[in-house]
Amino acid sequence: MTAIAPGTTPTSSPRSSAARARLLRSLLPALSLALVLIAIAWLNPRAISYFGFSLMLNLAIPIALATIAQMFVISGNELDLSIGTFVGFVGCVTATWLKDAPLLGVIVLIGAIGVYALLGALIHLRNLPSIVVTLGMSFVWQGLAILVLPKPGGKAPDWLLALMSFKPPFIPFPIIAALVIAAVVHFGLMRTSYGVILRGSGGNPAALRRAGWSLLRTKIVLFALTGLFGVLSGMALIGITTSADANIGNGYTLLAIAGVILGGGEFVGGRVSPIGAVLGALTLALAASPLLTFMHIPPDWQVAANGAILIIVLAARVLISRRER
């Protein structure tokens, strides 16, 4: 409850307070990232440099891409529990076929996006729970990854290595990449008219259907976009690690969901934020490993840090939302 400022009418004051709460809420992802950055700067000032950021945020690019992938299914009220093993599968294909037989590699990766589109159609047509279908698919992707690359190894294509180790002047590459990803997806999903339809399919599917839009099509598009960003995430990951392993992406499933929620996304209702999702992914990437290292906390607690951040941010959101009413 905020005090009513003198001079404002009672009707406008709750509204302006609600607007302030909304603003605060949309700033929450940026605030949490800033907090983590300040903590890092305080613990280890030398980390705040071109080189420091390039190192600390290295793995943030694939995490951000996987988070965006997850965000697309979530905006359609679904959940993808297979994105981690999918990233691993893409990684294995990237480190083998994409290097040795580029044409085959490209066909396989496009085919994988097609499988995602088909899953979207299947889930919509048979009214299936996406959690179970994608849990099943996580086994499929992992099995395929092991078949493609039975032992850790392979090598990233040279062009991918060159791209991921690109060193632009002044601003570290991961930051530029994060800005580009956030800007492109924000424009596509938040500023185009079909983006509104896509989010509407999660917000009010019944209204959308009555307005004549195909929910089958929106679901297929959302799942295909998830597949596309999953492919980008796997390729980016291999560009950084240079070789692959069938289990390389397993942790990404839960990280990606956490990133979307940290970034202000909600599970139902098509309320998602691409910029927030990227910020959430960066926060998780920074908090999980560099921050803990600087605080001399053993890596055992890496996963717990992610959980704790999630809970703290959600608690802050509850406090803010209480004022929003």
Binding site: V133, F139, G143, V268, V303, L314, A315
Partner: protein
């Protein structure tokens, strides 16, 4: 004919049919050899899936969005707690089981606390909780190489005439769960909340308490499962519960429980668990590689769900 029809209308019959088919396919491959032993092995492994499956079933029945993702972490931590408390001595078995149970109950209660206090979807609450539990387990159970007390390990592997005693006890437990679900106020409340949470609330169902009990129940069952698994496999480890995330959700759905909530099916959990375990046995018998086994498991689960799970949402 009417008998067949009424049997076919029971959603759980399909999971048992599937289990039977898989079993027949396997023994026809081995030429009838080892069919009995396979059933024994399947029963003793299915027990662990059934126990967490029942917990997950109650949670999922609460309605859309309700799912317990913390079960694998819960199982892992409880197995470590049980082994540490028992410390290899037979006299501490009961205390160790109680400790695992308490550990599970605490996890379940924390899950509901997060859902209630932060007003977040259960998926996210149990997910964040599982992150933290996992870390506690890694830190607490590091290098833990305590063997279960011999008495406990023998109990977990005890068979009478080829029937695992644990399986008999679990059958009794599932009968109890079915009675609780269909005949007791608690179970009817869970079903009512799953059908329409607002209507249930208006009808005077104590929604908060029922949800709290359900998440705690799921946590308790995860805790017991962890202790039993550590006894059966003769040792605890961090990854011991990993496969039970998919398994617990899959058996609920394959067993005919509605993912939209409000409709649960206890016998189906048994059928589906036997189906999954026998499926793995079959793939191992056929001698396929790890990659193909994972691939086929995934495809069959997706296939079964596609055939069985396609119900129209009534709301």
């Amino acid at each position: 004919m009417t008998f067949v029809k009424s049997l076919a209308a029971k959603p759980w019959i399909w999971s048992f049919l599937g289990a039977l088919l898989v079993w027949l396919a396997t023994i026809s491959f081995t030429g009838g050899y080892g069919g009995g032993g396979m059933v024994t092995a399947a029963l003793s492994l299915a027990v662990f899936t059934v126990i967490v499956g029942v917990g997950q079933m109650f949670v999922i029945t609460l309605g859309p969005g309700n799912v317990d993702l913390s079960l694998p972490a819960n199982i892992g931590l409880a197995s470590a707690v049980a082994m540490k408390v028992m410390d290899g001595s037979d006299s501490m078995i009961v205390v160790g089981l109680l400790a695992a149970l308490a550990c599970g109950a605490a996890i379940g209660a924390v899950n509901y606390l997060l859902i209630w206090a932060l007003r977040i979807p259960p998926i996210i609450a149990t997910l964040s909780a599982s992150f933290i539990i996992q870390s506690i387990d890694i830190s607490y159970g590091r290098g833990l190489q305590i063997k279960p007390p011999p008495g406990f390990a023998d109990f977990a592997n005890w068979q009478i005439l080829g029937i695992p005693v644990l399986a008999i006890l679990t059958v009794l437990f599932t009968i109890g769960a079915a009675i609780a679900l269909q005949r007791m106020i608690y179970g009817r409340s869970v079903l009512a909340i799953g059908q329409n949470i607002r209507a249930a609330w208006l009808a005077g169902v104590n929604v908060g308490r029922t949800r709290f009990l359900t998440y705690t129940l799921s946590g308790v069952l995860g805790g017991i499962d962890g202790a039993l698994l550590a006894g059966y496999f003769r040792g605890a480890n961090v990854d011991i519960g990993n496969e039970y995330l998919l398994a617990s959700i899959a058996v609920v759905v394959i067993g005919g429980t509605s993912v939209a909530g409000g409709k649960a099916n206890v016998p189906g959990v048994w059928g589906a668990a036997l189906f999954l375990v026998l499926l793995l046995t079959m793939l191992n018998t056929f001698g396929v590689s790890a990659g193909v086994r994972l691939l086929l498991t995934g495809l069959i689960i997706v296939g079964v769900i596609t055939v069985a799970g396609g119900e129209k949402a009534s709301r």
